[in-house]
């Protein structure tokens, strides 16, 4: 680490501390500035309403920001240390979304009379999701990228469950929207009083554990030989971290990026010892959240909307994370650490192909004819019904094909079976543009919606391209960039969603992957596009086989890896954009279909692609049909259902 760099970073910290004090001066209610705070602190007069307001809302808010920032940064720091993974954090590993699920479930299913503190269901939810993530990642020996990807997948999965609950229990959960985005507003010291003891104990525990924790840096086997019970230490540390996260989430909602970025800055400052790292991360985290909150307050005041601070941290944190990732070099060749003897089998392709095709045709016909009306099940073969149902079935089918191809390409390109188009952030980009348009009050029709979505997806592709250039589109870099991007975009989306505007909330169904807006024309556009790009992908199957050998060997047989990666990224972007624009961003098909094809022993690129297409189409058609009849007369979006089906199957598959 060079000195000028460290100096400029230190300068940055001092500057931000000054900035914060200026901001505080500006954001104090009634333009009272520091003098009002001073008066409130040292000569508190309850009869003065200004001082009362400062005392009851402003100061608790500052304190909450400091406490939460401090705790989240420490949680992130310890997590990164224990997992030896520079981008592990409560939010990237799905802990936060698990806590959210726990809260939502608590609100819905616990008897109202039961006065249970809210951090308990949050902790249970967080523990549940972390267990899932670790359970999946353990199979690959907790390899850094694998761990983050499984965190991402679990986050998406739990996010889908959350959305589903919100759709079903809309009336009960409207407050969860705002809360879920991390709002720091206070109206008394109650939260501070609740948080302090709950956080002090685990944080003190983490500090006390620093000596055995430091020994972990030697690696598991060595640490064991010097008398440290590695498993127990890791388990205790992670439990404490999850508890801290759950407490914070249950009080203020999900606040992302502090847990990644603060420890990252600490390491950049050259802090080596764990003790110092924990402490300094905590302080930087506290400063960061305070800064974000101070920046949020004026905007909130100006627009009159309740703007959650968690969203602001994402705005500040995502670019920083991208920059951080860009500084670090990651191995271009991902090697699986698996030692188990794989169970490879041969399965003939043609019979499988024919079987799947027949099943797909039959299912589509069933979806077309079988439905539900107020009297119950019925079988209808008439033109009107067909005209209603055919476009959406075709839309679902083509989207399934397109996403399956995009998923196979992503997995082959990054050499990672956990990657999917959603993870690259392209679909989040499309979603975000639409949500922002809705926020700005532009009422747009279906075609403008598709065009704008495409623009957003292209913009994200541009960013991925620009960031990837430096590392020659190395797989690991590509994945991490995508993860950071999509996490950032999702957070911004949450800000906008929390504004609670009518136009925006009506987008919720599209956001969860609905097919019922699909017209014949949409289906035709999608179909033609998917045909063109899909054919290209299948024609390029030799590239896909070779690129999986890794850069060195692929180059050695004459493949121009750089060019191939570029072409594949463009294909992935085109397919994802098409499917997202028509049916929305949320499905697991891109992750699922290539996997299912492999588990049916179709390993070479051409066979995998074709099998995945059929499977993707099949799952989407089924999801669309089930979404139509399950909750009649309402509808579940097909994307949401396929996410649930897909996520569950995926969990099973990853551990099989």
């Amino acid at each position: 680490m060079n000195n000028t760099f460290r100096l400029s970073l230190t300068f940055g910290l001092v500057a931000s501390a000054l900035l914060i004090s200026v901001l505080i001066h500006l954001t104090v209610p009634y333009s009272g500035g520091w003098t009002l705070i001073q008066r409130t602190l040292f000569a508190y007069d309850t009869s003065n309403y200004q001082e009362l307001i400062v005392h009851m809302t402003y100061l608790p808010r500052l304190t909450i920001a400091l406490i939460c920032g401090f705790s989240l940064a420490i949680a992130g720091c310890v997590m990164q240390f224990v997992l030896r993974n520079p981008i592990a954090a409560p939010t990237t590993l799905g802990v936060a979304s698990g806590a959210q699920l726990g809260m939502v479930a608590g609100v819905l299913f616990l008897p109202a009379g039961l006065a249970l503190p809210s951090f308990i269901p949050a902790f249970l939810g967080a523990a549940f999701s972390s267990l899932l993530v670790f359970w999946i990642a353990a199979k690959k020996g907790f390899a850094p990228i694998h761990l983050v990807l499984s965190g991402m997948v679990i986050s998406l999965f739990i996010g889908a469950i959350n959305t589903m609950l919100m759709l079903v229990y809309e009336r009960y959960l409207s407050s969860v929207f705002i809360w879920g985005a991390g709002a720091l507003n206070q109206n008394s010291w109650e939260s501070v009083h609740r948080l302090l003891p709950l956080l002090c104990v685990p944080l003190a525990g983490l500090f006390l554990m620093q000596r055995p924790l430091s020994a972990l840096i030697l690696g598991d086997s060595v640490s064991n030989t010097i008398g440290v019970n590695v498993k127990r230490i890791k388990l205790i540390a992670l439990t404490l971290v999850i508890f801290v996260t759950a407490v914070v989430v249950s009080e203020v909602g999900i606040i992302g990026f502090i847990g990644i970025v603060a420890p990252g800055i600490t390491r950049l400052l050259g802090v080596r010892h764990l003790n110092a790292q924990i402490l300094i991360s905590g302080m930087i985290g506290a400063l960061m959240l305070l800064l974000a909150d101070q920046l949020t307050q004026p905007i909130s005041a100006a627009t009159g909307d309740l703007l959650p601070t968690g969203a602001m941290t994402a705005l500040l944190g995502a670019p920083f994370l991208l920059w951080l990732l860009n500084r670090q070099t990651w191995p271009s060749q991902l090697r699986a650490t698996e030692d188990t003897v794989p169970d490879w089998r041969h399965r003939r392709f043609i019979p499988l192909f024919i079987t799947l095709l027949i099943v797909l045709v039959l299912t589509s016909l069933a979806a077309l004819w079988v439905g539900k009306d107020p009297q119950g099940w019925n079988l209808l073969i008439n033109e009107n019904i067909v005209n209603l149902r055919l476009p959406r079935i075709l839309g679902a089918l083509f989207a399934g094909v397109g996403l399956a191809i995009a998923g196979t390409l992503v997995q082959r390109l990054t050499n990672n079976p956990m990657a999917s188009p959603e993870v690259l952030g392209i679909s989040s980009g499309a979603a975000l543009t639409l949500v922002i348009c809705a926020l700005l009050g532009l009422s747009i029709n279906r075609y403008e919606q598709i065009m704008l979505g495409t623009l957003g997806a292209l913009a994200v592709t541009g960013v991925i391209w620009w960031l990837g250039k430096k590392h020659r589109f190395a797989p690991a870099q590509l994945l991490l960039t995508g993860i950071a991007l999509s996490a950032g975009l999702d957070a911004i989306m949450r800000i906008v969603m929390s504004s609670g505007q009518e136009d925006v909330s009506s987008l919720l169904t599209w956001l969860s992957g609905s097919t019922y807006l699909v017209s014949y024309q949409d289906a035709a556009i999608l179909g033609v596009g998917v045909m063109i790009f899909g054919t290209m992908a299948i024609l390029l199957h030799r590239w896909l086989d070779l690129i999986a050998l890794g850069e060195v060997s692929a180059n050695s047989v004459g493949l121009n890896s750089l060019m191939v990666r570029r072409v594949l990224i463009l294909l992935i972007a085109a397919l994802t954009t098409l499917c997202t624009a028509i049916i929305g961003p949320l499905t697991f098909i891109g992750l699922l279909a290539p996997h299912m094809a492999r588990s049916l022993s179709q390993n070479t690129a051409k066979k995998q692609l074709i099998t995945a297409c059929l499977l993707g189409a099949l799952v989407m058609v089924i999801a669309d049909w089930v979404g139509r009849v399950l909750w009649f007369p309402w509808q579940f979006p097909a994307g949401l259902l396929s996410s649930l089906l897909g996520g569950a199957y995926f969990l099973y598959l990853m551990r099989k």
Binding site: P342, L540, V552, S553, V557, G558, L559
Partner: protein, 269 residues
């Protein structure tokens, strides 16, 4: 003989030539300016202890790294100017740890070697299929054609990769420590195979080996590096001398004559 019949007759005698080629990473010189020539049809082995620069040299030859100074020439043409496919037609490279190949059978792997000839869309003809079959027979894996590479033993896996290099029909193969993962009998088997291919097909071989005795037995030419510089090169009998070995490895090694062949064998006294 179908294998290697397709290549045009060579016009020069040198395969690779290094003209003052050097490699530095952030002001740290890993390979000092070096001039070496690698002859065609010859087995050349690079020697030296860890960190002497031999892997770097291999990476310069296989175009994984670019020389910071000077030039690396392949048949009098700078390697950086060749297209990936054209380079692959001349030179094939086997990394020290071949990548893990999920769900690829031996036959499919060997077919990858035909890519530089056919590209992404070219049809595989009977000739290509024959070449693939021949390459598999050459390495003795006929009975394993449809097995998945991941299920083979270390030695078999290594041979499958060599078969892929053979199907590639390049004139030169680069092997980075091809024996590092193998037991002694498989080491011998693989090196004997490579030697046989060199003699029967005129294949140029450049490899890195750690075992000096194996290197001397199976090579025509040895090049020894130390701290990024070539310190000795020559025929095995010129290198297998007490003072030269001491220079290369920095320790005392003694020699005795092989009881049957009479070639010098080194040992730690």
């Amino acid at each position: 003989m179908l294998l290697y019949g397709a290549n045009s007759p060579s016009t020069t005698h040198s395969m690779f030539q290094l003209n003052n080629a050097a490699f530095t990473v952030s002001s740290h010189t890993i390979l000092h300016p070096t001039n070496i020539t690698f002859e065609k049809g010859v087995v050349t082995t690079l020697l030296g202890h860890n960190g002497c620069g031999k892997s770097t040299l291999m990476k310069l030859l296989s175009r994984q790294n670019q020389a910071s100074h000077g030039q690396v020439l392949l048949e009098n043409q700078a390697v950086s100017q060749l297209k990936q496919k054209d380079f692959a037609l001349k030179v094939a490279y086997l990394p020290q740890h071949p990548p893990i190949t999920d769900g690829i059978t031996v036959k499919e792997l060997v077919r990858f070697g035909r890519y530089p000839w056919k590209g992404a869309f070219g049809r595989y003809t009977d000739q290509d299929n024959n070449l693939v079959t021949q390459a598999i027979e050459k390495v003795g894996l006929e009975n394993y054609q449809d097995r998945f590479v991941a299920t083979l033993s270390g030695g078999e896996r290594q041979r499958a990769w060599v078969a892929m290099l053979l199907a590639q029909q390049s004139e030169c193969i680069l092997l980075d420590e091809p024996t590092s993962a193998l037991d002694i009998s498989h080491q011998h088997e693989l090196l004997a195979l490579i030697r046989e291919l060199n003699q029967s097909l005129g294949l140029t071989v450049i490899m890195v080996l750690h075992d000096i005795n194996m290197a001397a037995k199976f090579s025509d030419h040895l090049i020894a590096l130390h701290s990024g510089k070539v310190i000795a090169q020559g025929k095995p009998k010129d290198i297998m001398k007490v003072d030269v070995l001491k220079q290369i490895y920095g320790m005392d090694l003694a020699l005795f004559a092989h009881p049957t062949s009479g070639h010098p064998i080194s040992y730690i006294p």
